[in-house]
């Protein structure tokens, strides 16, 4: 059971080499992201700018928030197909509560606060139901969340009375939403310097177009959510138990982990980060839309997979999902800047997903090989 101590020189060499390859396969997505950024910076006019990077980060927040919760679910060998519509449900609920409270004469700030709270709370419901179905009723995650996909979609449209957006948001409310959703902690205005929190009202439009947002609020909020859930997954007992369940549910049960409760909480977390994405979507676009996260669902799953999380469970981390989301956002923006038809996005992202899975398989094979040297 000991590593052979008398390795030949050639063997030792191959060990070193495979460690290098191992390093590459484990962090390929980081290098890939870096490569993409360099490529687009060299080829796309205006790609390499603070303004554009801030815009890419802001674009990535929707997918990133969804992929955070999705990572937890996928690590337990599950999948949540319903979160696209959970984003919409949360967005629509928040918009309606804000509108109705503001219209009935409440303070706009109060209306917004209660609205956000309501949106996040409602978002927990699909997660709770998904979790109970998967953990207690033993419905396969794919089926349970596919059912929830339809239910939440319908619920979101019921709340807009079948419309594409929640109608009747007052101008004051929309302006307040915009200030946060499109605001930044710090601005840089060429030739005028830095401004905190708000732009000077007298800024001429030609300068306004050159303003760079250094710390957009959606990015800061998303970064906080990333930090919290990355910490929980990587460092806490709860996170460890998530990996145990993904590795072997039987082992988890026998070691006394309350697997059912844990799974329910994980599906709620997944719904919750989608709920945050929905609220943020409302703030950014000032319209509560049922289909806010529809297109982002598959991108979020793609981000999780590109980030190295194993769809069979047991492996993965939040940083992977973050990098995966950034890769998708960089591709989207970069292809637009290169003036390539947006249809190509789908093809390129698809190819990247397949590469990701292949690299992960290569990595697993390599680990086995190393262990048997």
């Amino acid at each position: 059971m000991q590593l052979p101590s008398k390795l030949g020189a050639a063997q030792r060499q191959s060990l070193v080499d495979s460690r290098f390859i191992d390093f590459l396969t484990k962090s390929w997505s980081y290098f890939f992201l870096l490569g993409l950024v360099i490529f687009f910076s060299l080829t796309g006019m205006g790609f390499f700018s603070v303004r554009n990077f801030a815009s890419i980060l802001t674009t990535s927040t929707l997918i990133m928030l969804m992929s955070i919760g999705q990572t937890y679910v996928v690590i337990t060998a599950g999948i949540d197909l319903s979160i696209g519509w959970t984003v919409g449900l949360s967005s629509v609920t928040t918009a309606r509560v804000m509108r109705d409270l503001a219209d009935s004469g409440n303070d706009v700030a109060y209306a917004m606060l209660v609205g956000v709270f309501a949106g996040l709370l409602v978002a927990l419901i699909p997660g709770l139901v998904n979790g109970v179905l998967v953990a207690k009723v033993k419905v396969p995650p794919f089926i349970a969340t596919l059912g929830m996909f339809g239910i939440v979609r319908g619920a979101a449209f019921l709340l807009t009375d079948g419309q594409q957006v929640v109608r009747g948001l007052s101008a004051e409310l929309r302006e307040s939403l915009r200030m946060i959703g499109n605001g930044s902690v710090l601005y840089y205005i060429p030739e005028r310097g830095f401004e905190w929190f708000a732009l000077p009202p007298d800024l001429p439009p030609q300068q306004l177009r050159l303003v760079s947002q250094l710390l957009p609020y959606p990015v800061i909020i998303t970064a906080l959510v990333v930090l919290v859930f990355a910490f929980i997954l990587a460092r806490t007992k709860f996170g460890r138990h998530t990996y145990v369940i993904g590795g072997s549910e039987e082992a988890a049960r026998r070691s006394g982990i309350n697997v059912d409760r844990h799974l329910i909480i994980i599906y709620i977390i997944c719904s919750f980060t989608a709920g945050i994405a929905g609220v943020l979507h409302l703030f950014r676009f000032t319209a509560g839309a049922p289909q806010a996260g529809e297109a982002a669902l598959l991108s979020s799953v793609a981000a999780v997979v590109i980030g190295g999380t194993n769809l069979f469970g047991g492996e993965g981390d939040i940083m992977g999902a973050v990098v995966g989301s950034l890769i998708i956002a960089v591709l989207q923006t970069g292809l637009v800047i290169l003036n390539i038809d947006s249809i190509w996005q789908f093809i390129v992202v698809g190819v990247v997903i397949i590469i990701a899975v292949l690299v992960n398989q290569l990595q697993a094979a390599l680990e086995r090989f190393q262990a048997n040297v």
Partner: protein
Amino acid sequence: MPKAKPEPVLVARGISKHFGGLTAVDAVDFEVSAGEVVALLGDNGAGKSTLIKCISGVYRPETGTVSFQGADITGHAPADIRQRGIETIYQDLALAENLDVGANVFLGKELTRRLLGLLPVTDDQRMRSEAAGALDQLDIHIPSLKQKLVNLSGGQRQAVAIARALYWQARLMIMDEPTAALAVPEQRKVLALIRSLRESNIPVILISHTLHDVMAVADRLVIMRRGQVVANIPRAEASEELVVRHIVGAT
């Protein structure tokens, strides 16, 4: 290895268990003494597994009593029986193969420390070093404790499962076909592990089909046939031929 009148740690008396019309275990008496390796033998359906499950609490025996270290544990819940130190190591080992040795020894009972005196985080370093200590006691060396279990050999995984049981104060180890899925050199290592358990005065119930293994490590052979114990013989008095005759019921 003759011992001077060892105290039985586990005593099962008159255990019976039926499944419908089938008598799986029929008024069986079974004892294990401290530091003794007892092999439980028998053909498929002889009642070995049912008897073991009556001891580990998976089944509640219909008649009879089980006592462990002087306490009556008949019909107690599996978790309680494990708590008292009867550890069953199943063939699938109940390990999380995607995690390292430390994580597996502390599965579900992770050690934590306070990060910045505030946030409870898993103490991976300490778990790893404690696990290394437990493996050392068994004289097992695993090249890298950061290695995921999926990358370890079958014998090494078996060792991790045993080390975990020992670390959590197992007082009696039940091992169900521990060598079944292993290559020959790995089988030898597991047999060596069983011997070192005996040396640590931890009794082992070994369920095995491999007569060779049994003859190599067991102190006593208990042979079951059709729900009954048909032979209970010290290793020294057993020959392979005799054992096979008992198993198949040839007289």
